[in-house]
Symmetry: C2
Subunit: 224 residues, 2 copies
DNA sequence: GACTCATTCAAGAGAATACTTGAATGATGG
DNA sequence: CCATCATTCAAGTATTCTCTTGAATGAGTC
């Protein structure tokens, strides 16, 4: 891909990394991988792509340093190659947030309409957890929860929310979190729990950002 | 461009921003704009693109919030829309630097071979300038220099370097800077000045990064 | 060593992108 | 208001990208 002067070549390689982040499917794959390492089949299912297609996207991401892979038994496990991929995406999102009208409109229409309460910062949540002042609910899938979650969090996948309301005490405030910024799950959860009379806020961003800050992370299928 | 669920749509818009940064020509345009606002014709000449082509790239960048434009007389002046575009590119570059072998090889072969001395940090340079301990040389074009430069810097475009050696005292250390990280100009300058017996180091990154940190900036054609 | 399974490769159709050319626009200056 | 200049638009071609399909690979299992 590179050509001409060496400076242009460096731009070309940098642009390749940019191109990796220039497709919605690939951003979605990266969001999944940010929750924890996973095999191709799983990623494909999660993002609704065909396996061959997901594989191709993953190979592009690997080629340009965004993800890495290793073989485990007969599966290939992909993982994020570099924490900074999340920083780069956060920067892109920030630009879209400020400067792309359609992005803003969508946020207002589809996210803030569900829950426009200010999100809890990770610093504050850290304190609240220490004080046992809140119930932390992880609304991601069991799988993602098992790969890593906030200490003491209760895993209630969004689909099971109404069925499992009895597990949630009405007295305590609830803090819901999910996969990352503008992951719709925590907005949904906040909206539906509030409709049932709970006091509930979302955590700022999601699990990957919590982990990236070096905060305590628990693993395994159940926090109880 | 967006479709399906609102979450996927947000990814799609974010990806559009990524796509903007996914082409070497556009990264080069952004690097130019980081030096200061400029009209299309100028940008096209600087980056070696046709005017129509540069215009198209600029329009894409504008559409997705990376640059902005305003009319001044009969020209359209483009400028960086958002400082964070530079952050995003820095993140992409960092990923390439660490994870793309070709990038590393190129740096070693074409940049570090010219000057592998550690660059001066902006913090340190700030101090050195205050103490008048160094001569600061800006090796960019007159135009870029005029749009903004380090306080007290001497502008010697790289093409005029040998011709103007008499302006540089041999006693003092020289610090050269240019357009940004891996802009080849300051590596070239360091190499050539050293060949002439000067003590010389490069500044870390370039003028846009200096300015982005809110440090003092001078304007006009001459620092003297 | 044949079989199974997850992943990758290869080839092809369709869509999107990049760049060129030449014409259109829109503000300015006589 | 006509001419000029900078930029944008429109159309066309070549290239690249995306996704699908079906076959190939390569590690484990029987």
């Amino acid at each position: 891909m590179p050509k001409h002067s060496s400076k242009k070549e460096l731009f070309a390689w940098t642009a390749e990394v940019g191109r990796c982040l220039g497709h919605a499917h690939r951003l979605e794959l990266i969001e999944c991988l940010a929750q924890g390492p996973r095999p191709v089949e799983n990623l494909a299912a999660f993002t609704g792509q065909s396996i061959a297609n997901a594989s191709q996207h993953l190979q592009l991401l690997r080629r340009f340093g965004c993800v890495a892979s290793e073989r485990r038994g007969k599966q290939i496990i992909y993982r994020l190659a570099d924490e900074r991929v999340l920083h780069a995406i956060a920067a892109l999102r920030a630009i879209a947030e400020t400067n792309v009208a359609e992005f803003r409109d969508l946020v207002r229409k589809d996210f803030l309409s569900l829950d426009d309460k200010e999100a809890v910062s990770r610093v504050e949540l850290s304190r609240l957890i220490k004080e046992s002042a809140v119930i932390v609910v992880d609304v991601r899938s069991n799988e993602e929860f098992a790969a890593g979650h906030l200490p003491g969090a209760l895993n209630i996948p969004i689909a099971e929310l109404e069925r499992r309301l009895s597990e949630l005490p009405k007295r305590k405030e609830i803090v819901a979190y999910c996969r990352g910024p503008y992951c719709i799950l925590s907005f949904e959860a906040a909206s539906r729990l509030r409709a049932h009379g709970y006091r509930v806020r979302r955590m700022q961003d999601g699990f990957p950002e919590w982990k990236a800050e070096g905060r305590k992370v628990a693993e395994g299928t159940s926090a109880h």
